[in-house]
């Protein structure tokens, strides 16, 4: 990227951050559903699900809840991108002497900031629910890193959805399966408790690797091999979604 493209990305990121600041409810909305799920699972189902020894169940649950937060948060990126296309702002930018993908990067970086805010709220509520961590500062950093990479990959998927959507509702519909995926993973209950084929799917889908590595890190242990499996999935997904969105974008703006 050239210096000019970086500058344009910074300006357009500032613009979409301003959108978020003018509707901070979107950050709250993003956090509300995962928090409600957390309360439900900890205080209603928690007793029955308790099978992981002496740790409070919220410790087991939190990584999956964080993923659900990101999955619902990125839906706003496709929504905003869809509006930019239909309001004509993106067509206008295409006639200006600026780098063509800077508007996409602006939305992606904004998503990173907005999801970080939502995640902080969810973690704060988790502490109120009895979550405790043995993680070192470095382990927390690693967790933040994994969450950032997860946000980036899911956001690029959101960009693909926003660019190819035909309607506002269609733009955010892609996030429902993403929100559902943690339920068939190790996020809520250990995969061993699931019937054969479901357990196989759960053990081999990316959410389990991501959730397991975050859980180990928060528990003060090493993440082991799962962190590399998680990163491989995330970087792979991000690469595919990134290339796909640039292709769709080129086609869409007719260049």
């Amino acid at each position: 990227m050239s210096i000019a493209a970086l500058q344009e990305t910074r300006i357009l990121t500032g613009r979409s951050l301003r959108h978020i600041l003018r509707s901070p409810d979107t950050i709250i909305t993003t956090a509300v559903t995962p928090i409600a799920m957390m309360l439900l699972f900890v205080f209603v189902f928690g007793g029955a699900l308790q099978s992981t020894g002496s740790e409070p169940y919220v410790n087991y649950l939190l990584p999956g809840i964080l993923l659900i937060t990101i999955a619902s948060g990125v839906a706003y990126t496709s929504y905003r991108l869809f509006l930019d296309l239909s309001d004509g702002l993106i067509p206008r930018l295409q006639t200006m002497p600026i780098s063509r993908s800077s508007i996409l990067w602006g939305h992606v970086l904004t998503s990173l900031a907005a999801n970080a805010a939502s995640l902080l709220i969810v973690v704060a509520v988790a502490f109120l629910c009895g979550f405790r961590s043995h993680a070192s500062f470095l382990a927390w950093l690693a967790v933040a890193g994994i969450l950032a990479v997860t946000t980036l990959s899911l956001t690029w998927i959101a960009v693909v959805a926003g660019l190819s959507a035909k309607s506002v509702d269609g733009a955010s519909a892609f996030s429902y399966p993403l929100i559902f995926l943690p339920f068939i993973s190790s996020a809520f209950v250990p995969t061993q408790s699931m019937p054969g084929p479901v357990a196989w799917f759960a053990q081999n889908q990316p959410v389990t690797a991501i959730v397991d590595s975050i859980r180990s890190l928060l528990d003060g242990q090493s993440a082991g091999g799962s962190i590399w499996i998680a990163l491989a999935w995330l970087v792979g997904l991000m690469g595919v979604a990134w290339v796909l969105s640039l292709v769709i974008y080129r086609k869409k703006i007719g260049a």
Partner: protein, 257 residues
């Protein structure tokens, strides 16, 4: 020099031949009107000139740059107001203008915004979100956004469609001011009176080619010689409407120029 040079430009969508050999020259500093009915291909031509669409064949030059070979230079030398308003509804009017100024890397974005807000009678609404603007205000802001940075060529795709007569006249005045300052203006329109009011030259796009081109006087010679008829000239509906709704319309116009 000509601001726009187009030679045998062709463009089709699937099997729909929209442009079938368009030739066009627009002298620098003039106001040029492109007339055509719905679906004639006006927007398609605008998109090709602004490098958003690629032509199938033929050549198009803008301010001396080839749209296919030098799109970046073309984009730097022109500015487009599309057929449908392209503003950011969440930002205020001033923020929209500042956004464009900063993307064009101009110093003093705030000052540029203030100047344009005043020129387009939007100063009072400058700090309001654009989502609260009326259609006409939004259109005026839209046009103001394309004037940021004083581009050599301004393309306006149906600039006054959907405006009330007052806003239309204000927009016409701004376009005249632009040309007076040396900017080349290419506008598309379906309104014959708009072309008559504004344009130095007029081209008619029909069935994929320019079927007529020239000054208004030249186009008039194509018509049968005028007959003298005894008619009492009634006030037109437009005259009546304007005198009723805007006792100050003339004052405002005077203040603008």
């Amino acid at each position: 020099m000509n601001a726009v040079e187009v030679h045998s430009l062709h463009k089709s969508f699937n099997d729909l031949d929209v442009l079938r050999g368009v030739d066009l020259s627009i002298p620098s500093g003039s106001i040029y009107a492109l007339l055509g009915s719905n679906g004639a291909g006006k927007t398609t031509l605008v998109k090709i000139l602004s490098t958003v669409l690629k032509p199938d064949s033929g050549k198009a030059m803008v301010n001396g740059f080839n749209v296919s070979a030098e799109p970046a230079q073309v984009r730097a030398s022109l500015s487009v107001t599309g057929q449908f308003a392209a503003t950011d509804a969440v930002l205020t009017g001033r923020e929209n203008l500042e956004l464009i100024a900063r993307l064009r890397k101009l110093p003093h974005a705030g000052k540029i915004a203030d100047g344009l807000l005043e020129r387009f009678n939007l100063t009072d609404a400058a700090a309001r979100k654009v989502s609260t603007y009326s259609g006409g205000m939004r259109r005026r802001l839209d046009i103001a956004m394309s004037l940021v940075g004083d581009p050599l060529l301004v393309i306006l795709d149906e600039p006054t469609t959907g405006l009330d007569p007052q806003a239309r006249i204000q927009t016409w005045q701004s376009i005249k001011d632009l040309a007076a300052a040396g900017t080349t203006v290419l506008l598309t329109t379906q309104y014959l009176d708009e072309a008559e009011q504004l344009a130095d030259r007029i081209a008619i796009l029909h069935e994929g080619t320019i079927i007529q081109e020239g000054t208004l006087a030249e186009l008039r010679t194509l018509m049968p010689a005028p007959r003298v008829e005894q008619v009492v000239r009634q006030a037109t509906l437009e005259d009546i409407f304007l005198s009723l709704v805007s006792p100050s319309a003339n004052v405002e116009e005077g203040a603008q120029s």
